[in-house]
Each structure stands twice: as structure tokens, then as C-alpha cells.
């Protein structure tokens, strides 16, 4: 069933509330809505939310629909930033329009194109789709985490995980920035890579959060 854009927005916000801010029940007034708003009716009819006085909660269906909306939104942001090179402030407004275009099937294509990114440019988790699970073993990404590179493979930094302030500071201190050439030297017991002319060793956790746009395939 096709849902209105407004309803999708509500689902998106509710999902973030419930899954990332651990706040299941939301006051309708905080959205500037009441029980009689058409969009609330639409969601109730579709069985996506449960009404409790003036508070609404996501149903099981609503939760999975919300997850898809969030996933599309964040994939759209990734696409805009990584591929279309959209700068800072425009990302939010463009992605709002974009996410509604990315319906099932298309979002998977975008996800594959981007190499199944885990986070949006703001550092928030992108909910996994089925394609992500399938593609885990596949190696032919456009963008892949440093940890999935093969020894000797090289490319340029595409982006990195920015969820944790401290970890991000470390990356910046090492000189991990988009566009810097990188090549993997060794992957066990720690990840050893050359970043420009400096060689670093990092643990799996850091190697997982650095994403590389692969440029060439050379093997030693």
C-alpha cells in the first residue's frame, strides 16, 4: 500500500524515537497533531500505530515500515554525499525529497552501489536490508571497509564512522580524511596500512569504521 509522505515522516521519527532514543510512546502534540489529523488516521488504518489517549506507539508493522523509511533516508544521504558530492547544508533538504523516490528495489540498488554502508554521513546507523546480509561475503564493492580489503589492495578514503567523538578525533589525528590514498599491507593479527606515506597499524574496530573507495586491484 502506498503511504503519504507525511505518514512516512511520522513513521521515521517514531522509529528513531523508539530505536535510538529508547522512547516508545510519543505525544501527538509534539508532532503538532491530534487524534483527528488525517495522517494519524491513515497510520491507524494501516495498523502501523497504536493509539493510547493522546500518545501513539509503533505497532510491529509500523516498526518495520519505519525502519525501511529511515534506511531509505540515510541511504539517500550517503548517496548524495558520496556519489553526488553534495555539500554540508544541502544534504538534509535534498535527502528529504530523495528518500521518497527510493522505494523498495531501488533502495537495494543504491545500497549495493554504495557497498552497503553502515552509517549515514551524520554517523547514525543505517538499518540493514536483506541485500546487506547477502552481500557480506561478496567482495566487489565500490566502497568497502578497510577491513574487507585484500592485502595489497588500494584506494582512497571514502568516509569513516563518526558516531564516537573520541574515535573520530583519533582518525583525524592520524590524517584519515576523505580522498587520502590508502593501501592495505596486512590484515592479521592487526590491520596494517599505508596512508599516503605513513604506515599505521590499527585494530579491527577501527579498520571496520574506515571506508575505502577501491581504485585498483593488485595482488602480491
Amino acid at each position: 500500500m502506498k503511504m503519504s509522505e507525511d505518514a512516512e515522516h511520522i513513521l521515521e521519527k517514531m522509529w528513531v524515537h523508539a530505536n535510538e532514543e529508547m522512547n516508545d510512546s510519543v505525544d501527538l502534540a509534539s508532532f503538532g497533531l491530534n487524534v483527528h489529523s488525517p495522517v494519524v488516521q491513515e497510520l491507524l488504518d494501516a495498523g502501523n500505530v497504536v493509539l493510547n489517549d493522546s500518545h501513539i506507539m509503533l505497532s510491529e508493522d509500523g516498526n518495520s515500515n519505519g525502519k525501511t523509511v529511515v534506511r531509505r533516508r540515510r541511504l539517500a544521504e550517503r548517496l548524495l554525499v558520496d556519489v553526488l558530492n553534495t555539500k554540508g547544508k544541502y544534504v538534509r533538504s535534498s535527502s528529504c525529497e530523495f528518500e521518497h523516490i527510493l522505494h523498495r528495489g531501488i533502495d537495494e540498488n543504491v545500497c549495493i552501489l554504495l557497498g552497503h554502508p553502515r552509517t549515514c554521513p551524520h554517523g547514525k546507523q543505517i538499518p540493514e536490508g536483506r541485500c546487506c546480509e547477502k552481500a557480506r561475503e561478496e567482495l566487489e564493492h565500490v566502497v568497502s571497509p578497510l577491513s574487507a580489503l585484500q592485502n595489497g589492495q588500494s584506494g582512497r578514503i571514502a568516509y569513516f564512522d563518526m558516531r564516537e567523538e573520541k574515535k573520530m578525533q583519533k582518525m583525524l589525528a592520524m590524517g584519515v580524511l576523505p580522498g587520502i590514498p590508502v593501501s592495505l599491507v596486512q590484515s592479521y593479527p592487526s590491520y596494517v596500512f599505508d596512508l599516503n606515506h605513513t604506515r599505521y597499524a590499527v585494530d579491527t574496530e577501527i579498520a571496520n569504521s574506515i571506508y575505502v573507495r577501491i581504485e585498483e586491484n593488485q595482488r602480491f
Binding site: K89, L172, L177, S190, N196, H197, T198, A201, V202, D203
Partner: protein, 674 residues
């Protein structure tokens, strides 16, 4: 915040030079050759190493430049104006102090792109600045050349190319310093609109005078830097308005501001680097061919070191020859036997005791100075005859390993294992150092990142890592049987892993992450190794000898008041539980004051036929796990606080006996005879 201030004061221990002279301060990333430049210009010596992050404290010295005397300061490594670790905080703190004559920002020329951002930040801070492009040899080996005068024009500050390790360009650097006149250069970085506006409005709110430009301070405030915040709070600035601007700016950007600003700064850097740096394709010139030949050998050795298949056997070889043969065999055996047994035991000490006793006729005072545990007969003898050769030998090995660049490779090999016990690969430095002197190692835990990691490292150092003094004696005692040695090593190893594992589960806090720079392998220079060993030993004597003297005085007081006899008597009980005679209580008790003394007592008891082979192994295990020497305990108190140090002690005493009990039980049950 209080904690931060305390740490700072303890890092600035080497404040020996007065503030009379104008300062020249070296800053820059770790491992770019700052210490070599420092040693060239100053009269004192900084420890130079091929390991990022070994300069924990600030080194200072006096130096003549262009006929004028300056104070020269070498700061620990620094990546950006915003510090992550304590060592970087030490460097940052300098920026807020009195303006020096000039800062030398030393960078690795081949990595200009990565290091120039700090130069730009320093220019923004409007401090007197000279940029030193060091390691030009490594850059030209890679076919990189840099247009010095063009870079100078672009930045608006003097730029000097050097290869400090060969002494190239240092005379030009001296000229540049002696003719330096401070003219603030204009900032080169153009931040995006929102950030520029916020910087302007924050800096217009700052009313007081600061040693760095208000614009640079505003940037630090925008990034919520603790030290900058503390400074403006001290000056009663309008914190609330500043906080509002910061929050507003943070909301305006979807990415964290530190990221945005770093990227924007890097854009400027890339533009500059593109216009001044040329990468040549290497011509098959003879000297270049020679260079690439050595660098390919270097690459090959490097590969062997970092691959587990070859790396681990190499590590074991290094441990066997470096630690077991050289420190345990040569230094602990040959050298100590001569110094302690012959030189001090038969020649110096009898003479000292006799002459002291004839001058001072009071037995109590005699006991304090020349008694069994006297200041001269114990503390000084111990320090010179036992500690000096052991620690010295260890530091020679450690310095060689350090200078080759092997330590980061070791850290990389071991990170996975260390993660299991709550530490990152970085902790390998204090751990290895612990085999030399656990007291020094406990100080070096300062370079670790999180409080949790520091606590675990200090705990394991106190618990399971035997220092060279103890190790030497224990290896000697256990040499009667290879099996005994293996049982001892396995028990200690298991305890180390188990306790590390448990404390990583129990202690709150984030788990450590690991990243380390791996500098190219370099051949160590003999002179550097010797001077470094010397300066480490000098430090060791200044820091540790006083603690031994205190220990002697404490033992003297304790014996005088009878407290110690009671304690020894009490320790007799747990000794009996682990199958040893009650007399072993004495060995455990004094073991706390002198780590190896307990082991030596063990040796005597074995020789006297009081102990079976199983007894010796059990006693050696318990002693190793026992609370370390008093010096280490005091340093743990200093670094970690009295609460944590006491908590460790409360855990360590019973657990040492518990492990002894278990090993004894197992060995006797299975009827093992050694």
C-alpha cells in the same frame, strides 16, 4: 578537571632551567626528529627513539644560538592543537603560557600534507613560528622535492629544509633563528561561512589578553576543548553566550565541527602542497639505485617482522637472547656476582661497616646506616651492585629495540592478545619495560589512553611481571630443573591472562582502541643507544634510589618498634598453608621492600636444605605474584591514587598465596618430585 590539573603538574617534573632565558620550543608530530634537533642545539639530552610517544615529560636545556643564550624545550609529540592524550596535553599547555622567542614546528617532509594543518593552526594562533621540513633524505628517497622559498611565501613564515640526523641544514636553521623577528602572518584557512561567523563572534566576546590569538582560542572553544574552556573561565569571560554560539553552530552543521574544520583546513593544505611539492619519477641514478636497494631490504625485513608466522619466532628469539641470555645470564649472573659478592660483599662493605662503627658507637644508628638493612649496606649496595647492572643491561637491549622501530611492530603483533586482557597493543611498552624496572614501567603507563587501561596495566605490572632484579635471582634459583622453570612460567603466565581477563570484565569504562604509527625500520646508532641508556639510568637513580633509602629507614623503624617481627610472624601462617616452613614469612615480608631479596632468601633456605623442589617452585611463584617492591607501590600511589593502589594490594596479597596454595596442592597431589 581537578584530575587534569594534577596530571599536568606531575608531567612537568623536569623544571630545572630557570625562566630567565627566552624560550625556543620544539613542537610537532611524534617521530619527526624533534629530539635530534633538540640535542643538536641544547646542552642536555633528550631521549631519541624510533617509537612514537616515548617522550612523556618535557626536556629542557640551554643553547647558544647566534651568540645568544636561549632555553630550548622539547615537547612530547603533538598532532593538532586539540589534544587526545596526556602527553599531547603537556604540549598544548605550553601554548597558553608565556610567548616564547620562537616555536620550531618540525615536520616530516614526505608527510607535509598530513603535518601542515598544525602549521596552519599555529599561524592562526599568531605565535612566533619557523617551519622545519625535516627528514629531507627520506623524502628525496621517494622522489619528493619541495620548493622551500615558494612555501615560505605561501605561509608567510620562515621555512628551512633539514636532514637533522645527518646534520644537514642545521646551520641554516641556526641562522634563521638568530635573525628571526616575529611578524604575525595572516591566517591562510578559509572556513565556511557558519564557522567563520562563530569564530568572529566568540573572539569578540573574549575580553582578556591571551598568549594565543582570540581567533585560535575561539576555535578551540568551538571544539569544546577542556583546557581552553578552563582558561576562559579563569578570566571570567561570558561563558554562557559562548556556549550558546557553540551549540548554535553545532546544530547548523550535520557533521561534527572538528571534522568539518579539519576537512576545510586540509583543503587549504592540499592547495598549498600541490603548488610546492613535486614528485619525480625516480631516475635510475646510481645512488638512487643504492637507496632503493637498501629500502627493499628494509621492506623485506619489515615483512618478516610483522607477519605472525615469522614475527612470533623472531620475537621469541629477541626475548631469549636479549632478556634471558644477556640480562638474565650475563648481567644477573656474571656481573652481579662480581659486584655484589666480591666487590661490595668482600671489599667495600666490610670497610664501610668497620669505619662507620668506629666513628659512630651507637648500635641503633649503626643499624640504620650499616646494619643488615642499612642505608649504606642495603639501599646503596643494592642500587649499585644489583640494580645497576641488571637495569643497565636491560636498558641497552630496550634502547636498541626501541631505535630500530621494533616496538610498534611488536604492539601490532600483540594487540589481539592484549585486547583479551583489557589493554591495547600500546600497553606492550610498559609491559616490556616492566621486565626491566616495574617502577619505571608504572610511570610509563601514563602514555596509555584510558583510565581503565592504565589501571589494568599498573595492576598486571604489580602482580605478575617480575622486574630484572627479581627475574635474575629467580632464574638462578630455579635453574636446578627445567621443569621447575616451566611450571613457574606457566603459572605466572596463566595468572597474568586470567587476572587481566577478569579485570577487563569487572572494570567499568570503554574498551581500548588501538592505532599506532609504524615508522620505517632504522639501524640503531651506537652512540644514541649508549647516551639513551645512560640518561635512563640517571633518571632511574634519581627517582628510585631515594625510595630505597626510605625503605631502609622504614625497615629500621619497624624492627626497632617490633612491628615487623609481628608482621613476619603473622606471614608465617599463610606460608605454612602453601606448604612452606614458617620461616618463609620473613622472605615474603622483606620481599615487599626488595623485590629480589625475598628470592635471595629463598635461595638461602633452599641451600640450607629447608625446602624441597616443589617448595621452591611454589615459593617462587608466590613471590613473583606478591606485592612488588615498595618503590613500585609508591609510584602506583602517585600515578593511580591511594585508593586504587590499596585496592590492588588487598587483592594481590591473598591471591598470591591462593595461587601458591593451588600449585602446591596440584603438585603434591600428583606426586611431582623436582
Amino acid at each position: 578537571m581537578l584530575n587534569l590539573v594534577n596530571k599536568k603538574s606531575c608531567c612537568n617534573t623536569s623544571d630545572s632551567v630557570q625562566d630567565d632565558f627566552e624560550k625556543i620550543i620544539l613542537v610537532g608530530n611524534p617521530n619527526v626528529g624533534k629530539s635530534v634537533i633538540f640535542n643538536h642545539f641544547s646542552d642536555s639530552y633528550a631521549v631519541v627513539s624510533n617509537y612514537p610517544g616515548t617522550t612523556v615529560a618535557v626536556s629542557k636545556g640551554k643553547g647558544m644560538i647566534g651568540g645568544k643564550e636561549y632555553e630550548i624545550v622539547d615537547t612530547p609529540g603533538m598532532y593538532s592543537l586539540q589534544p587526545i592524550t596526556d602527553e599531547e596535553r603537556v604540549s598544548q599547555n605550553y601554548l597558553f603560557n608565556k610567548k616564547p622567542f620562537v616555536y620550531l614546528h618540525v615536520v616530516d617532509a614526505k608527510n607535509l600534507q598530513r603535518m601542515l594543518p598544525l602549521t596552519l593552526q599555529l599561524i592562526e594562533a599568531e605565535v612566533p613560528l619557523i617551519l622545519v621540513l625535516n627528514m629531507m633524505d627520506e623524502a628525496s628517497e621517494r622522489g619528493i622535492s619541495i620548493n622551500e622559498s615558494k612555501l615560505e611565501r605561501k605561509l608567510g613564515i620562515p621555512v628551512i629544509c633539514t636532514t637533522s640526523i645527518k646534520g644537514e641544514g642545521l646551520d641554516r636553521l641556526e641562522d634563521a633563528m638568530s635573525s628571526y623577528v616575529f611578524q604575525p602572518a595572516t591566517s591562510k584557512v578559509e572556513y565556511s561561512r557558519g564557522i567563520t561567523d562563530s569564530i568572529t563572534s566568540i573572539s569578540s566576546l573574549l575580553k582578556s589578553e591571551y598568549e594565543i590569538s582570540t581567533k585560535a582560542l575561539a576555535q578551540l572553544l568551538l571544539l569544546n576543548d577542556d583546557v581552553a574552556l578552563e582558561k576562559v573561565m579563569q578570566n571570567n569571560e561570558d561563558i554562557e553566550s559562548i556556549a550558546r554560539i557553540v551549540e548554535g553552530t553545532e546544530r547548523e552543521y550535520s557533521d561534527p565541527l572538528s571534522y568539518v574544520m579539519t576537512v576545510e583546513r586540509q583543503d587549504t593544505v592540499n592547495e598549498i602542497v600541490d603548488s610546492v611539492m613535486v614528485k619525480n619519477i625516480l631516475k635510475p641514478d646510481v645512488s638512487v639505485a643504492q637507496n632503493s636497494y637498501t629500502s627493499s631490504i628494509r621492506e623485506r625485513i619489515d615483512k618478516l617482522l610483522i607477519k605472525p608466522v615469522t614475527g612470533i619466532p623472531i620475537l621469541l628469539l629477541v626475548l631469549y637472547f636479549g632478556l634471558y641470555k644477556f640480562v638474565g645470564g650475563f648481567a644477573a649472573g656474571t656481573v652481579v656476582d662480581y659486584l655484589e659478592g666480591t666487590l661490595f660483599g668482600e671489599m667495600i662493605n666490610p670497610l664501610v661497616i668497620d669505619s662507620f662503627n668506629s666513628v659512630v658507637p651507637y648500635p641503633i644508628i649503626q643499624d640504620l646506616f650499616v646494619g643488615e638493612y642499612g642505608i649504606l649496606t642495603q639501599a646503596v649496595t643494592y642500587a649499585i651492585a644489583l640494580i645497576m647492572p641488571l637495569v643497565g643491561a636491560f636498558f641497552i637491549v630496550f634502547s636498541i629495540i626501541e631505535d630500530t622501530g621494533y616496538l610498534p611492530r611488536l604492539a601490532m603483533l600483540i594487540d589481539r592478545v592484549f585486547k583479551k586482557i583489557g589493554m591495547s597493543g600500546r600497553a606492550v611498552i610498559p609491559m616490556v619495560l616492566g621486565f626491566g624496572c616495574a617502577t619505571m614501567a608504572t610511570m610509563v603507563t601514563r602514555t596509555l589512553e584510558t583510565r581503565r587501561e592504565k589501571i589494568i596495566a599498573s595492576m598486571l605490572l604489580a602482580l605478575a611481571i617480575p622486574c630484572s632484579a627479581q627475574l635474575g635471582v629467580i632464574l638462578g634459583v630455579l635453574s636446578f630443573s627445567g621443569t621447575a622453570l616451566v611450571i613457574w612460567a606457566v603459572a605466572i603466565g596463566l595468572e597474568l591472562l586470567l587476572i587481566g581477563y577478569l579485570s577487563s570484565k569487572v572494570l567499568p569504562g570503554e574498551s581500548p582502541s588501538f592505532f599506532i604509527e609504524m615508522p620505517p625500520l632504522r639501524l640503531p646508532k651506537l652512540s644514541n643507544v649508549l647516551v639513551k641508556t645512560y640518561s635512563r639510568m640517571q633518571w632511574y637513580f634519581l627517582e628510585v634510589l631515594p625510595l630505597f633509602v626510605i625503605a631502609s629507614v622504614l625497615i629500621w623503624l619497624g624492627r626497632l618498634t617490633g612491628i615487623f617481627q609481628t608482621a613476619v610472624h603473622l606471614l608465617g601462617y599463610p606460608s605454612q598453608w602453601i606448604g612452606l616452613p614458617a620461616e618463609a614469612g620473613l622472605m615474603f615480608f622483606y620481599g615487599f621492600f626488595r623485590r629480589d631479596f625475598g628470592a635471595a632468601g629463598l635461595f638461602d633456605m633452599y641451600n640450607a636444605g629447608m625446602l624441597t623442589g616443589v617448595n621452591v617452585v611454589v615459593a617462587a611463584i608466590t613471590l613473583t605474584l606478591f606485592m612488588p617492591c615498595i618503590a613500585q607501590f609508591l609510584v602506583t600511589v602517585k600515578e593511580r591514587g591511594i585508593k586504587i593502589a590499596l585496592a590492588m594490594a588487598t587483592f594481590i596479597f591473598p591471591s598470591a598465596f591462593a595461587v601458591g596454595f593451588i600449585v602446591n596442592y596440584l603438585l603434591t597431589t600428583f606426586g611431582v618430585v623436582l
